[in-house]
Amino acid sequence: MSLIALQATNPDINLTLIAPELIIGIAGVLVMMIDAFARRGQRWLTGGLSIVALIAAGGASIWLGAGWRGARSAFNGMIVLDDLRLSFTLIFVVVSILTILIAAAWIDIEKLPAGEFHALLLFATCGMMLMASAGDLVIVFLGLEILSIATYVMAGFRRTDVRSNESSLKYFILGSFASAFLLYGIALIYGATATATLPGTTNIATIAGRLNHSLYPPLLLAGAAMLLVGFGFKIATAPFHVWTPDVYEGAPTPVTAFMAAGPKAAGFASFMRVFVFGFPIATAAASTAGYTHKSWLGTLAIMAALTMSVGNIVAIVQNNVKRMLAYSSIAHAGYALVGFVAAGAATDAEQRSAALTSVAFYLLTYAVMNMGAFAIVTLIARGNDRRTAVEDYNGIGFLSPVLAFSLSLFLLSLLGMPLTAGFMGKVMVFTTAVRQGYLWLVVIGVLNTAVSAYYYLRLIIVMFFRERNTPWDAPRLPVSVALALVITIAGVFYLGLFPGRVLNAFGAHPSISLSIR
């Protein structure tokens, strides 16, 4: 009987809806093949092909957003097409292109195998895209694992360096632990959503519909808590952030830049989809759905406050620039969580989409300025990441004005100076939070921004006003990194001055961006 029912179901295959993921996946395999057969002088081919594929995937997702008039979901709801997915896909494309540009110089200097790096990066991007497009917890998990495994290897890419090995191993062990939590949570949710007649489900939309019919409400809460832990680890929120500094410090700098911007955004994409759409706000607060929603929202608000405070306060005492940026990335995850909380608390679809857009926009701005900052850290660190202490930045301001001024710009943007992208991102996130009544969270956020001024400005002061005792020659600025810097600087100003177009593309209602200006 069940067999016939299964035969009757249509697998609902729609390759158009997974076109960006397909392009990236195929390009990853092609890059490996080319790398195996290319001669010594043709190594640039893999990087070039990767960038072309990423641009093609970006184009495909823009076309899906603007020109596609067909079904909005495929594979029986496993893949969905909405603004959340498209905006995050574009963030991933930007992050990966910038990573390739920044890494080109590093791979060249240290004579590392470029083909493997580009292939792994493309696979990681494919995993991130799947995480953003997943309408089913199974796809979320598979995407996360593809992303994580590729990132573990990339963190250990400098195989002869002990710090890189440590970083990779720590990330691997703790990351597997977090994945296990996530998987356990998925299994519990599956069990909790079973009804007397139907088996459980991992489809996010179906979960939302089954919450009030759950036979095992406490199991639902336990599953949601495990999912919260798993995702919280992946995006480095406060109680689960302990791995971040060591991993970020030990990994090669371009990989750190990627980890801070890409996987974090991907984690947010699925985290938001699972919780905002899977455990949505309920009209009846006394029901199971209402209780579940209230529980995770309260937990998340506290986590946001903790994450912001811990990240910023601990960053003050760091003497290594990469460590400092690692804690700064924790703090920025906290700011983004504020927008997430607002999205969870929003009662109508329009406000919810505005809040989701603000988080996506925030992560885009963070990605741009963070990649820029790490590009310069890569150059100053030289081969093997030898120079990453704050003292290494002593007085380089006027010895290498281009690098110092761009780094200052990125730091000011990370701090949230007006006219820069960072300011606009914070304004968007905090506005949506105020609108949902989370004033206390915004106050904590603003206070934390003030705290963060100390360590961002300290690096600028060190660069421009401190004496340098040892001789220092400015690092050569390779073309690829220069290109990355041009893109990121232009991005910082463009997103800071004219955010309206990007916000509209990300799906916010136009009135939101107008009311800000």
Partner: protein, 223 residues
């Protein structure tokens, strides 16, 4: 489902065996013993799956975990020759505070999960007693129609068929994505595990850049 007769014996035997073997896995001092205990724990869990009528999962459990993963484990343990740990007289646990924290959290987890499952079970039993009875009768009806096993006593469910069906219809996309996951894992492990000499032989990197000036044979001569 109420356990009765030999099913009860079967269930209690294998569940206690699984728990005991799991404990011994953690507590054994010798890594090989740990691996062997893990095998017996996995086999017991496989037997429990058979009791649940999930022959496919039981088969996969035995084939993949016991047959594949554990043999690899043992192979690695014997190759690497982990001997230092078993000879030491140091206490097996790290620090009292760590043990206490781990115990408290695992206890909390166990209590919460047991409470959740129990509450759900009780609620289910009370609310859907009629529906459950209905399900029970339809299930036994279905079971009577199933093909009998070789012994003529047990019956073979169609679980395996339905797993196969859904794997290639509903779950075709995750199935394909899993292949990408495996590809990434293979590429990554080859990338990390190959020796410097192999990397140099891939003709894209000079061996001296990687910190190993001459090939290995002359390198030992220098020392």
């Amino acid at each position: 489902m109420i356990l009765s007769g030999w099913e009860t014996v079967f269930f209690w035997f294998f569940s206690i065996a699984a728990i005991l073997a799991g404990l011994l896995t953690v507590m054994a001092r010798n890594a090989v013993h740990s691996a062997l205990f893990l095998i017996s724990s996995l086999v017991s869990v496989g037997a429990l799956f058979i009791l649940l009528g999930a022959e496919f999962i039981a088969g996969v459990q035995i084939l993949v975990y016991v047959g594949g993963v554990m043999v690899l484990f043992l192979f690695v343990i014997m190759l690497v020759n982990v001997g230092a740990e078993e000879e030491g007289r140091a206490p097996i646990f790290n620090r009292p505070a760590q043990v206490a924290a781990a115990l408290i959290f695992s206890l909390l987890l166990v209590v919460a999960l047991l409470a959740a499952i129990n509450k759900g079970y009780v609620g289910l039993r009370d609310r859907d007693a009629a529906a459950l009875k209905q399900t029970e009768t339809t299930r036994s009806e279905q079971e009577s129609k199933m093909q009998t096993g070789a012994t003529g006593v047990s019956r073979i469910t169609t679980q395996t068929e339905s797993v196969g069906m859904s794997l290639f219809t509903n779950a075709s996309l995750p199935f394909e994505i899993a292949s990408l996951l495996l590809l990434v894992a293979i590429v990554g492990s080859v990338m990390l595990a190959r020796t410097l000499k192999q990397e140099a032989a891939a003709d894209d990197v000079d061996s001296e850049v990687l910190g190993q000036a001459p090939p290995a044979e002359t390198g030992t001569d220098n020392i």
